[in-house]
C-alpha cells in the first residue's frame, strides 16, 4: 500500500477535528464557526476515505461524497443566513445573537 500507515491519517484527522471543534467553541464570528464546522466534517471524510482504502472497499468513499453533499447544502443555508444578517446591519457576533433563549 502506498503512502503512510493508517495511524498517521487517524492522528491528522483527530488534529483537524479538534481544530474545528475548538473553532466552533471559541470563535464568535458566525462565518468562522461555519468554516470550523466544515473542517470537522472534512476530518471525518478523511477518516472515511483512509479506512476505505485500508479495507479495499468503496463504501467509505460513497459516504464521503454524501457528507460533502450535505456539507455543501449546509453552507448554502448558513452563508445565506449570514448574508441576510449582514444586510440588516446586525452585529455578526454569535454571543449577541441570543434572542432564542428560554
Amino acid at each position: 500500500m502506498l503512502g503512510p500507515d493508517i495511524q498517521w491519517y487517524v492522528i491528522l484527522s483527530a488534529l483537524l477535528f479538534s481544530t474545528g471543534a475548538l473553532g466552533v467553541m471559541l470563535r464568535r464570528s458566525p462565518l468562522i464557526i461555519l468554516l470550523s464546522v466544515e473542517i470537522m466534517l472534512n476530518s471525518a471524510n478523511l477518516l472515511l476515505i483512509a479506512f476505505s482504502r485500508l479495507h479495499g472497499s468503496e463504501d467509505g468513499q460513497i459516504f464521503a461524497i454524501s457528507v460533502m453533499a450535505v456539507a455543501a447544502s449546509e453552507v448554502v443555508v448558513g452563508l445565506g443566513l449570514i448574508v441576510a444578517l449582514g444586510r440588516r446591519h446586525v452585529d455578526l457576533d454569535v454571543d449577541r445573537l441570543r434572542t432564542l433563549r428560554g
Binding site: M25, R28, V94, D95, R98, L100, R101, G102
Partner: protein, 625 residues
C-alpha cells in the same frame, strides 16, 4: 292461529307508535288519534282470536310458546324472543287491549286540541305495546324488558305536560322508585340464572331451589319489583303524584293495567313464591297494610284524582292479599273487575274535569253532578262497584279474596279483619267523594266554569267509552260468583291452582261483613256529607301528611345523600383530589421554569455542552470496555 294472533296483538301497537313518531307533523292530529285507537282495537281483536284458539285446545295443552329468534346469547345461555300464550296471559291480554282500546278511544275526545296530541298517542301506543310485551313474554328476561318499558312509558306520560314542573318531578319520582323495583327484580333473575341456568318460565319453575335462603331471596327480589310497580307499601309514594298526567293516562296506566303488573308477576311466578312462603305471606301483609293506609289517606284528600289514586292503591292491596294468600284466580278476577270500575271512575272524573276547565279540587267541583246527570250516574255505578255492593262488579271479586283469607288460619284471620275494615273505609271515602262532588247544589265555581259540549256532557268518543265501562262494571262481576259458578277459576286452574279453598260458610261470612261494613261506610258518608246531620270531623294531620312517607324518604335518602356528598366534597374531593391535581401542576411549572434557564441562547455554550457530553460518553465507553 294462536301464535300468529299473539304476534299481531303484540306488534300492532308498536307499529302504531313507530308510524306516529316517524310521520312527524304530516298527518293531522285526528288521524294519529284514530291510528292509535284502531291499532289498539286491532290488538284486542287479535287477543280475542287467540282466546278463541285457546278455547279450542284441551285444558292441559293451552300453553303456546312461539320463538321468533334468539334474542340474547351469552356463553351457554340463550334467551329467545319468546311469546307465551296461555290461560293467564290471555286474560291479561284481553284486559290490556280491551280496556286499553276503550281508554285510547276516550282520549280522542279528551285530548282534542291539546298542543301535542301526536306525542300523546305515540306514547299511548308505546305503552300498550310495552304492557303486552310484559304479559306475553315467554321468559323472565323479556318480562323484565317489558317491565322496564312500561316504566318508561309511564314516565313519559306522567311528564306529558312538560311545561309543568310538578309533572316533571312526579315523572322522575315514579321512574326512580320503579327503577328500584327493576333492580331488585334483576338481582332475582341473576340468582335464577345462577341456580337454574335459564329463564324460561317452565324450566325455571321446575329447577328453582325449593326452599332455603336462595329461594327466599329470589322471591324477595321479585316481590320488590311487584311492590314498586304496584305502588304498595313501602314503595307507594309515587302513585298519587303520578296523577299529574292526563286523566286517561291515570285510568289506563295508573289504575287499570300497569300498576296491576305486580299482581300478575306474583300470580305468574307463584311457584317461586310458594317455595318461599315467608315472602308470600309478606306480600299479603304488605297488601293488607297498604289497603288500610291508603283507605285512611283517601279520607282526607281534596284532589279528586288523588282520592281515586289512593283507592287504586287500596284495591291493589286486596289483590296482593289474594295473591299472597294463594287465591290466584281471585286476585286475577279482582284485577279484571277493578280494571273496569276504576277506569270508569277515572274516565267519569275526566268528564267532570274536562267540563270544568281542568279543575281537580273537590271543594271547587262540589255539586257539579247536578249539571252533569250522565256523569253522576256512571260515577255512582263505579263507586258502588268499588265499595262492592251487589250486584256490581266489586262485590263478586273482592269478597272471595276475603273469604279465602278466612281459610288460612290466624294469619289469614288477621288479614281478614284488616280487609273488612278496609271495606268500611272504601264505603266512606268513595261516597264522601260522590256526595261532595255529585250531589247538592253546585258551587259558585262549578256554575261559573262549567261549559257543556254542544249541549252534551262530552264528545261522543268520551260518552260511549264511559258507557261501555259502566255496563262492564255492572255485569262484569257476573262472570264468576263463588262458590256457585267459577269459570275464571276453572280456566286458570291448570296453571294457578289455589292454595286453599274457602268453604261456603266462610264465603258467606266474608260477603255479609264486607257488604255490611261497606254500607255502613256509605251511611256515615251520607250523614256527614249529604244529609249534613253531623259536622265533618277535623282531618287527621297524620292522614293529610300521608303517614309522613315522603318526609321520611326525604330525610333518609335525600338529606342523607346530601350530608354524605357534602362531607365527601369537604374532606375528600377538595383536599385529596383537587389538592393533588394542583400540586402536580405546580411542581411541573416550577421544574420547567428552572430547566428553561439552561436554554440561554449562547450557541457556543451549546457546542461546549455537546462536546463535553461526547467526551464523557467516550470515557465511559472506553472504561466500560
Amino acid at each position: 292461529m294462536v301464535d300468529t294472533a299473539s304476534w299481531v296483538c303484540l306488534l300492532l301497537p308498536l307499529a302504531a307508535a313507530l308510524a306516529i313518531t316517524l310521520a312527524g307533523t304530516r298527518p293531522s292530529r285526528r288521524v294519529t288519534a284514530y291510528v292509535s285507537t284502531v291499532t289498539t282495537m286491532g290488538a284486542f281483536v287479535a287477543a280475542v282470536i287467540a282466546f278463541i284458539g285457546l278455547l279450542g285446545e284441551s285444558p292441559d295443552e293451552r300453553v303456546n310458546t312461539t320463538t321468533s329468534w334468539t334474542w340474547l346469547s351469552a356463553g351457554p345461555y340463550h334467551f329467545g324472543f319468546t311469546l307465551l300464550t296461555d290461560q293467564l296471559s290471555i286474560v291479561m291480554m284481553l284486559i290490556v287491549t280491551g280496556v286499553g282500546s276503550l281508554i285510547v278511544a276516550y282520549s280522542v275526545g279528551y285530548m282534542d286540541r291539546e298542543d301535542e296530541e301526536r306525542r300523546y298517542f305515540a306514547y299511548m301506543s308505546l305503552f300498550v305495546f310495552s304492557m303486552l310485551l310484559l304479559v306475553q313474554s315467554g321468559n323472565l328476561l323479556l318480562l323484565l324488558a317489558g317491565w322496564g318499558m312500561v316504566g318508561l312509558s309511564s314516565y313519559l306520560l306522567i311528564g306529558y305536560y312538560q311545561e309543568r314542573p310538578s309533572a316533571i318531578a312526579a315523572a322522575k319520582k315514579a321512574f326512580v322508585m320503579n327503577a328500584f323495583g327493576d333492580a331488585t327484580m334483576a338481582l332475582a333473575l341473576f340468582l335464577l340464572i345462577q341456580h337454574t341456568g335459564q329463564l324460561d318460565y317452565a324450566g325455571v319453575f321446575a329447577a328453582a331451589p325449593q326452599s332455603g335462603a336462595v329461594a327466599n331471596l329470589i322471591a324477595l327480589g321479585l316481590l320488590g319489583g311487584a311492590v314498586a310497580k304496584s305502588a304498595q307499601v313501602p314503595l307507594q309514594t309515587w302513585l298519587p303524584d303520578a296523577m299529574e298526567g292526563p286523566t286517561p293516562v291515570s285510568a289506563l296506566i295508573h289504575a287499570a293495567t300497569m300498576v296491576t303488573a305486580g299482581v300478575y308477576l306474583i300470580v305468574r311466578c307463584h311457584t317461586l313464591f310458594e317455595n318461599a312462603y315467608v315472602v308470600q305471606d309478606l306480600a299479603a301483609a304488605l297488601g293488607a297494610v297498604t289497603l288500610l293506609m291508603a283507605g285512611l289517606i283517601a279520607l282526607v284528600q281534596t284532589d279528586i284524582k288523588r282520592v281515586i289514586a289512593y283507592s287504586t292503591m287500596s284495591q291493589i292491596g286486596y289483590m296482593f292479599v289474594g295473591a299472597g294468600l294463594g287465591g290466584y284466580s281471585n286476585a286475577m278476577f279482582h284485577l279484571m273487575t277493578h280494571a273496569f270500575f276504576k277506569a270508569l271512575l277515572f274516565l267519569a272524573t275526566g268528564l267532570a274535569i274536562h267540563a270544568v276547565v281542568g279543575e281537580q279540587d273537590i271543594r271547587k267541583l262540589a255539586g257539579v253532578g247536578k249539571l252533569m246527570p250522565f256523569t253522576k250516574i256512571v260515577f255512582l255505578i263505579g263507586s258502588l262497584a268499588l265499595v262492592g255492593i251487589p250486584p256490581f262488579a266489586g262485590f263478586f271479586s273482592k269478597d272471595p279474596i276475603l273469604g279465602e283469607a278466612l281459610a288460612r288460619g290466624w294469619f289469614g284471620i288477621t288479614i281478614f279483619v284488616v280487609g273488612v275494615v278496609g271495606a268500611f273505609l272504601t264505603g266512606l271515602y268513595a261516597f264522601r267523594l260522590y256526595f261532595i262532588v255529585f250531589t247538592g247544589e253546585p258551587s259558585a265555581f262549578a256554575r261559573e266554569h262549567h261549559h257543556a259540549h254542544h249541549g252534551k256532557e262530552g264528545p261522543f268518543s268520551m260518552m260511549w267509552t264511559v258507557g261501555t265501562l259502566a255496563a262492564l262494571s255492572c255485569v262484569g262481576g257476573l262472570l264468576q260468583f263463588t262458590p256457585f259458578w267459577d269459570p275464571l277459576t276453572h280456566w286458570l286452574d291448570p296453571i294457578d291452582p289455589a292454595l286453599a279453598e274457602a268453604t261456603g260458610w266462610e264465603e258467606l261470612l266474608a260477603s255479609l261483613l264486607a257488604v255490611g261494613l261497606g254500607l255502613a261506610g256509605m251511611f256515615v258518608a251520607w250523614s256527614i256529607y249529604a244529609a249534613k246531620r253531623r259536622r265533618a270531623p277535623k282531618p287527621v294531620t297524620l292522614f293529610e301528611k300521608k303517614f309522613y312517607w315522603d318526609e321520611v324518604y326525604d330525610l333518609v335518602w335525600y338529606r342523607g345523600a346530601e350530608v354524605v356528598t357534602r362531607a365527601l366534597y369537604a374532606f375528600v374531593e377538595r383536599p385529596l383530589i383537587a389538592g393533588s391535581m394542583s400540586a402536580v401542576s405546580q411542581a411541573f411549572g416550577l421544574g420547567s421554569r428552572e430547566l428553561s434557564t439552561a436554554q440561554n441562547g449562547l450557541v457556543r455554550s451549546y457546542a461546549l455542552a455537546l462536546a463535553s457530553g461526547i467526551a464523557v460518553l467516550t470515557v465511559v465507553f472506553l472504561a466500560a470496555r
